[in-house]
Symmetry: C2
Subunit: 602 residues, 2 copies
């Protein structure tokens, strides 16, 4: 059985029908491009994904990174994958021509990354993190630092990491204890320990650029006293007479359930006098800078989760078409031929549920990337601002919804295969193990929930929320001429009305009692996600319905494609959206059962 990682037709649909990516060609930054350039870029990504990443997906899991006290070893193919990615120019692709980049839109770069992630998420993490780290240096570092560190991060000589978490504070960034002491030459000396740092050490690149959150002596307490530092593994020869090892030590590797070919590290800074670090931007503003990388990473995590789910779905689908087993309940003749399991209604249900999750999740994430693009390159200031506000609002959903539901898609894919899904002779169990990381890193689901309800929704007088509600309203209005879509649109409209009421209600509670008001935020996040993804599906259904009704002759393949999108939209809106009913009821009544549960009652 040949593996399908991502189906080109789906990406094409998302970029050019669901999103109007070709319209970007009208913007000054992209006038020199064409649809052909975009497609060729994706073609290159696909080739690299299949040739250099897919080949060691299983091997990198079975032979996970090792550390002998001196050196880290990865399976050899990881080096080649990194090199192929870098040599194709993807580490610099989104930068301007005059910076040495290809001036590609965000949504094209992220679609390219989707191919890479689908093929091998463990090896894709190295370029993924490097892209984010380089963007951070690009946005906030001094010209001098940029000149020294950006070029080698853009051509693949250096990799990057984000070093936030410490053993004693986990997600609570306010409690970071790594210190930075000014040195005479204007640099700093860092001391402290960081944990769960992905790619924190590896033998692939000649240097690693750690972007480290630390506290300068006498900084204000809490998040307002955190600064951002660039701490290289080696001080490059260009800076000193010859490249010297910085005082950053790998204390050990952590051993993950999945995502194994990405090293997860404990790093010690400054055990021998202090690691040399360079301040990025102004003191004490580090967290606000880091949020740029975190927000990018959150969209990236969502996309990664979606494509892991997507790959599992395609595998289960193909298996279900090929594997004969059993007969329909109405067939009592045991001598009749067994049917392919896709003919069993429950298998179809599991496949359709997966389809609604993974194609819905991928659409959501690429939509987020298009908002990111609009926030940077849309023509008017107000368009840019609207896009930024909507993206801010949606980021917790984009991070958490695919992480939860595309993991569930992997779970369903295993179930379609049964015993075969559970064994390592098939790829599904690895996809499931890999995907389990996504609800954790870059902010757990609980953190996304607090962020959505506590910050993103109320921000600027519900600015983002109002934009979203307006956009949903437009889609609903566009369904008015289509009797069948109208039914789905009404479900969505009713749900939005209910969500509006609950939101108002919760914001009122929040104002008087933050602890109680946020207590059930996780339910709100889930209900909100269901409304958003229903909208994403209704938009896709609208396109499908228009294509099917144009009267122009579609090929059978195209007709099937659009009918599938319509059916997935029906499924999501009829099967998944109604669950917000009980959720919003619990929120509206302010259910206190978990809140009131006492420590000693457990």
């Amino acid at each position: 059985m040949s593996e399908q990682y991502l189906v080109d037709r789906d990406i094409e649909f998302l970029l050019y029908e669901f999103l109007d990516t070709e319209a970007l060609l009208q913007r000054p930054r992209y006038r020199e491009h064409s649809r052909e350039v975009f497609d060729a870029t994706l073609g290159t990504a696909k080739t690299i994904a299949e040739k250099y990443f897919a080949n060691h997906y299983t091997k990198g899991d079975a032979c996970e990174p090792t550390f002998d006290g001196e050196n880290v070893t990865l399976v050899e193919e990881t080096h080649k994958a990194w090199n192929a990615f870098a040599e194709a120019g993807f580490l610099a692709a989104h930068y301007d021509f005059d910076e040495g980049g290809m001036q590609l839109p965000e949504v094209i770069l992220r679609s390219a990354m989707a191919y890479i992630n689908a093929a091998n998420v463990g090896s894709a993490a190295y370029p993924f993190l490097t892209l984010g780290a380089a963007n951070l240096v690009h946005s906030f570092a001094s010209e001098e630092l940029k000149n020294r560190y950006l070029p080698p991060m853009m051509d693949g000589r250096y990799a990057g990491t984000m070093a936030l978490t410490e053993p004693d504070q986990g997600s609570a960034l306010a409690d970071i204890r790594t210190t930075a002491t000014p040195a005479e030459d204007g640099s700093y000396r860092l001391r402290g320990q960081k944990m769960f740092i992905s790619g924190g050490d590896q033998p692939i690149t000649e240097n690693i650029v750690h972007l480290v959150l630390a506290r300068i002596k006498d900084a204000p307490p809490g998040v307002k006293g955190i600064s951002l530092f660039l701490v290289p593994k080696f001080i490059p020869a260009s800076d000193v007479s010859e490249a010297t090892r910085n005082d950053v030590q790998l204390a050990g590797l952590l051993h993950k359930m999945g995502y194994r070919n990405t090293t997860s590290t404990v790093l010690s800074f400054g055990e021998n006098g202090g690691a040399i670090g360079y301040l990025i931007g102004e003191p004490h503003k580090g967290l606000s800078y880091m949020f740029q990388m975190m927000n990018e990473a959150r969209i990236g995590v969502g996309t990664g989760a979606a494509v892991l789910g997507y790959r599992g779905y395609r595998h289960a689908l193909q298996y279900a078409k090929e594997r004969p087993q059993g007969r329909l309940p109405s067939n009592r003749d045991p001598q009749s031929k067994q049917v392919p399991i896709i003919q069993h209604a429950d298998v179809r249900r599991m496949l359709l549920m997966q389809k609604s999750y993974v194609e819905g999740g991928l659409a959501l994430c690429l939509y987020a990337s298009s908002l990111f693009e609009d926030a940077h390159s849309a023509e008017s200031e107000s368009e840019r601002q609207q896009a930024a506000e909507l993206l801010d609002l949606l980021t917790p959903i984009v991070k958490s919804w695919p992480s939860r539901y595309c993991l569930k898609a992997n779970d369903l894919a295993i179930q379609v295969l049964g015993g075969s899904g559970y064994i390592r002779e098939y790829p599904l169990e690895q996809l499931y193990r890999d995907n389990r990381l996504n609800p954790i890193h870059e902010g757990t689901e609980g953190i996304q929930a607090m962020d959505l309800l506590g910050r993103k929704v109320p921000a600027k007088g519900l600015a983002g929320y109002k934009i979203l509600a307006g956009e949903i309203g437009k889609t609903i209005a566009a369904c008015s001429g289509d009797a069948e879509l109208l039914v789905l649109a009404q479900c969505l409209g009713d749900s939005l009305t209910r969500l509006n009421g609950t939101t108002e209600n919760l914001l009122g509670k929040l104002a008087t009692d933050a602890d109680l008001g946020l207590a059930n935020a996780a339910l709100y996040l889930d209900a909100f996600g269901r409304v958003v993804v229903s909208w994403i599906w209704l938009r896709q259904a609208l396109i499908a319905s228009q294509k099917l009704s144009t009267g122009s002759a579609l090929s059978d393949e195209e007709e099937n494609f659009y009918r599938g999108k319509l059916q997935a939209a029906r499924f999501y809106i009829q099967w998944e959206l109604p669950e917000i009913g009980p959720q919003l009821a619990l929120l509206d009544t302010g259910n206190r059962v978990p809140f009131d549960m006492q420590r000693d009652w457990f």
Copy 2:
């Protein structure tokens, strides 16, 4: 952090408060026993679990079974665990004194197994399967076969397996192709291949008794032509001049995501002329015999799933009490002390959800074991029959509900720990991997759903269903004097009324269109399970409420214990039960979206 596998107080509550296990002492079979005997039995199981099973839970996962083409190797501790279990007499514990057993009730044996499973489910599978296989021999084999094979299965010299699945038929037992040809001596020669056979080979016991489904030449097609055979790995010396290898070969081991210390095998029967097998019972009735073992195994799978969830919950709970991180949303002082994460409302929600799943699941499974006991030892024929009918109805729920929700509990436990939950330095990721098997083996969720709606509910004029509804009604009535429980009881009553309506509706559809009528059976299974577990929780809440209101002074510890049970019941009935609303609505309207989805639309 010390591990708690099962908390004795919970088992004590379930056996002696939730179930009236002491009442068994009035039955003739148990008159020579006492509560002390039961407790000592559980104490022994706990000691063996902690001393011989828990010690290699991680090691048996990291060093999974290997096969060099000749021999299978397991970590050495597995042998000692088997021996300790056998030497304590547990393989024979439930048989009568005059058969060499301890004449122990089913619910005590299953509680004992719960301790063993919680400590190391991978090593527990060998005794678990042997118990079931021996029961099958005991129930249906000839005296001669019993004399030859039961004693060594009861004392631990032989292990047992169940060999149903074949590579080409998976769950479709009607299509079994292994053949059995009569030989002149009255035995049979078996030829065929079996797959996913747990414990199909291992180096622990001197012999393995395979219970194999096969088809005698010219047997009727389908399930009515399947016979059951006892096929030993070695023909014992007592049968022939010296023990000889039977023609059963290990074709290979399968490599599972979890449950790794249990070998999962592909077995070839009869590649060198034919494996010697002995018919059990009558020809062509093999599947009905095998259902005894499958039904026992289904309760066992549910219990195993529950205790894996339970262990993860206890781990996450202890971690949440000890791990300081962050502050409450209302606390804006970054210099204040961090709080243990159990103080975060969302962590409490995740813990309470786990508690409701794992304690609810364990209660459900031990209740099923008590029904099994009643079906065998209750005084009157009508009591025995009622228990059997109710157990038949509930078996698909007992198998599938804990398999789904106690796996979800493991998922939540990982989430409580965050990054630490995802790494092998903590036990949660292994529990999660192990537990993922449970929704698959002994009948997937889809199969349980078809069994429930297609067979168990309509059986004998809804006999089991009516008994269940009657029992639920009794519990609801018992809540009438308790204002707070009354609210919960009304929720359950309303849900049962809705379920009754949907059931009637679906059975009507089934009668006219089996394919469509069963299409959404998985939804029905889930809704049914929610009603059943709400009832299980209401029963527990009733006990807790009575204890709390007696006025007699409870210790703080006891008061907390009962308050926790009450709160978990509130949680389950208020948070989990209402989801049947949208589920039953889809069933009532006969939603056809997955059913109508076409193969080519995917």
